[in-house]
Amino acid sequence: MNDAHDTSERRTVSANTTAAVTDGGAPAASSETRIGVDVGGTFTDVALSVDDDLVTAKVPTTPDQHVGVLEGIAKACDETGIDPSEIDAFAHAMTVSVNALLERGGAKTALVTTAGFRDVLEIGRQDRPDLYDLEAEKPVPLVPRRRRFEIDERTTAEGVERPVDPEEVRELAATLRERDVESVAICLLHAYADPENERRVAEILREELEVPVSASHEVLAEFREFERTSTTAVDAYVRPAIDRYVGRLVDEAADAGIPAPRIMQANGGIADPETVRERAVTTTLSGPAAGVVGAAATVDDADVEGLVTFDMGGTSSDVSLVRDGEAERTTDAEIDGLPIRTPMVDVDTVGAGGGSIAWVDAGGALRVGPRSAGAEPGPACYGNGGAEPTVTDANVVLGYIGPDTALGGEMTVDVDAAREALAALADEAGLESALEAARGVYRVANATMTRTIRSVTVERGHDPREFALVAFGGAGPMHAAALADSLEVDRVVVPRPGGVLSAFGLLAADEGYDAARTVRTALDEAEPDRLEGVYDELVADVLADATDPDAATVDRAADCRYAGQSFELTVPVADSFDPSAVGERFHDAHERTYGYRMDEAVEVVTLRASATVAGASPTVRHEGGGDPRIGTREAHFPDVGAAETAVYDRDRLEPGATVRGPAVLEQAESTTVVPPAWEGDVHEDGTLAMTRTEADR
């Protein structure tokens, strides 16, 4: 990664107009200087909002992630001509916790459970990970059996039945000290209902030990012992690493005169460093969440059902949904087979990206992925010795990527190598030419991604035709219009900072905290006073984390179900708990989600509270200017064939400009394809809004 590359990656979009944004939906600008830094697998992305400008930069990710973070900040500041000490706010997403999980490189953790249940973590839900794979393995438990300890106590749903013997816990503490454990997770049965015993165990262990102790009723006060144990174990497992990392970054930021980083959580909200050091489990998968937040912040979804965000990278593509400006969340997430039940932005991944390799299988079908050429050697067109045909190579042969298109900035495009790789594929597949093979790879990759998008929307009860598609990531905007055609989606939006949308999302994110507790009661027997008491505690809990409780918006919700079901739906709850209103809302939600309502008793299972402190939306002003036209080249489109295609420099297109397909829009981090039947309008903030010009595709 040389300097020239890094410099070319830097983009400045400057503007001096203060006119209202037409599509960005961004409210009044703040004049603060704010920076967002997102660490990804290969690059660390930076978005800097200063005055009315948005500056972006990319630097290589370093093994010690904070090194690259500070380099990225320095670079962006340098380019902008400001001193880091002028930064007013710093938001950050990193992969420290997810890496610790995937590499099983976290702490030496101990687990404490109720007698008879130390194996719950390992047994899981007793299902095997794959129906037909005889070589399948269950996920390796974060805490091996030798460090799982039982104590003699018992709590039921009604309360404590057998109290904890403090002496037994002190003896356990001595054992844990002897074993040099680095963190402790405690999960006792029914601690969500009555945490007394668990609290006592945690108190004693915290007195006796120097290491962090995660208690399940504090991490996830919800029923279902395996999922609660798993979530608590994840928290304890990543906590020392997060504590070290965040602590060091806070110190180094302070040294550079930068405010302490506020950390992106997987729930899509940012939080203070002190909060995430205490509750590390919330930091898993924060980067993808930031991307979805960034997409939601750039695109107005007022006249569609919602947004499908489509982030196509090198090895895979991420798909998620945004409704009413909010990223859809799940409390049913898993990382590497480990359930994490704290709320997370719901992201589905499909194993097809620009680097995915095309091949012909034993049945004679042309397949794309799941193998990827990765960054090294990369697609054949990188000219780094890769010979296998990839999706990116197909895009070169189709003319979407030209000989002079910037591909991550550093390399020129080797068109001949791409053509050769596709010609070899054509031979193998019995297709006429490299071009036919390229068209085939493009179609197959799109079919795979279409299947995932359909599945994500249909499974959640939506019709994709009612949605707009938001495309980002290096390759997303190259495929988006074709995907829209097969999904019968009429609108595609390509945000301006699409190459660093997660970093941009950090600037746009609100502060957000969640708390929940299982109460489990029949709705018609619910005692509103008792539930209000629980809500009071939950609200106090989330407000305690908020930097400015007075500015916080508090939302309350309840997970409900029909008696006898064992899955719940979350419905909003007003300021006072009115059982009949909650019931009605649940019936409505059930009908909306599953298509029918029932005349059955409703159960309230879990109460939830969240606090949000709105962040200042970043200003993105786009001016363009200069001759945007780079030239023309021949490109090939499904159903149309070859067409002389205009090539534009996207950065130079001015607001108000309309680009009629066929056209290719180039910019440093990504390339956008506008097919013949499409046109794109450039909005004030540089967003490209594409619509189909012909009703019939």
Binding site: G116, R146, A362, A429
Partner: protein
Amino acid sequence: MSESTDATDDGIDPVTLEVLRNQLEGVAEEMGQTLIRGAYSPNIKERRDCSTALFDADGRMIAQAEHIPVHLGAMPQAVDAVRERDPEPGDVFVLNDPFAGGTHLPDVTMVSPIAPAAESPEEDGLEDRSIVGYAVSRAHHADVGGMVPGSMPAGAREIYQEGLRIPPTRLVADGEIREDVRSLVLANVRNPRERRADLRAQLAANDRAADRLADLFDEHGRETVLEGFDAVIDYSAERMREQVRALPDGTYEASDVLEGDGITDEDVEISVAVTVDGEAIAVDFAGTAAQLEGNLNAPLAVATSAVYFVVRCVTDPEIPPNEGCYEPVSVRAPEGSLLNPEAPAAVVGGNVETSQRVTDVVFAALAEAAPDRVPAGSQGTMNNLTVGARDGSFTYYETIGGGFGARAERDGMDGVQVGMTNTLNTPVESIETEYPLRVERYALRPDSGGRGRQRGGLGLERALTVETEATVSLLTERRRHAPGGVAGGEDGARGENLIDGESVPAKTTVDVEPGTTVTVRTPGGGGHGDPDERDADALEADRADGKLTEDGADE
């Protein structure tokens, strides 16, 4: 608007093949999602005990979204049974008769002929609609009547006791629901409102297939899609034939037993001869016991599903399941036998335990042909436990995981569902809140995995205290005959059932008083290879984790 790439001489090119394959599988998946979303029964909604599929006009399966293996081979019979009854566009058939296209009564299947309007609308006015295929959905309903709630009676001796038996019947005719048929069905089941919701979800799933197929006709043209049906079937067949060719020719035999049929304790033999001949696998269950008085009889569709399951596992599980995938595989069982019973045999247990033993014997036979790919014996039972209050206030049913057999290069998985099932457990915190039951212990069973170079998976111990007057029913296997080790590996531990510490038989139904504790110790998996060759670190890790204790006794 077909693509110009449809150029090769053989019809469909490799690109269109892959695109259509994705799209057709997508149709089956969307049907499944529609069904799961709209269903009420926990079996469908949470355990995903349901499957959806698309068939062509000749009754050949094109794509299937199956969530549990027992539906793998059972759908074609349902379509065949419907095709014999002159289906017309606008009909939807419902059926569950194990002797006419079904498996066991709770599995209700719906079959809809698909007949999109003809391609040229200018010629409309003419009813030019021919059937191009069938949409099929099958789901395990929570109840279909019969002698006990849940329709899985342990003591049944005739199918009439097991619930309402529905031969292929038009639930919808000419696009209209036949209320008389629906009310007949609903009058015979417990909680008809829920059943109505489940039936509606199945109809919605089938309708979704018709809509999506019409979209595909629009996109590719009718001819291309119909050619695509053939192409995806040929595709799977080609991939499967390649896999079968790699197996050495020969006839491989195995036999095993069920430990009684619930009425007597006598062993019941299941024998198989698997013949690999070039590109074909013929599976013959000749020598298997005659059909039983109890309910462990399994219709041929169940045995077929079990065979398909094993074939998928041993070949390439990624081969898309359709007619072509199973084209090289044939299954036979003598008429009137345990695996091909005649009406009115009781069959509800066949799905549960008999299917497990069928997978065991077919695996055992193929172990000779593919020794590196077939694991040692797994627990081979679902460990069915039912607790019913004597006052009728509740029925609780669960199955319990156990040891997976050791693999050539890996230990067996500890404490998992094996073979034909993969359902989740019920959380302790749910059981204790919803039933007068207390879970005392849920743990791995040390030393239960068969020793070997690779160790068999550990069984589980589950102990439940019943806090009310209840009837406890255990339907289990592998209490007398242990899961086998292979290649010098030792057998896994046998399972064990205890009531208040006293050992009870594999199949037991007993009335208990409040405070009685039922303990189920599930079998461990067999070991693989010589125990003396076990890696020292692996041995040490097992000792440190207490999975292996020095004296071999429970710690």
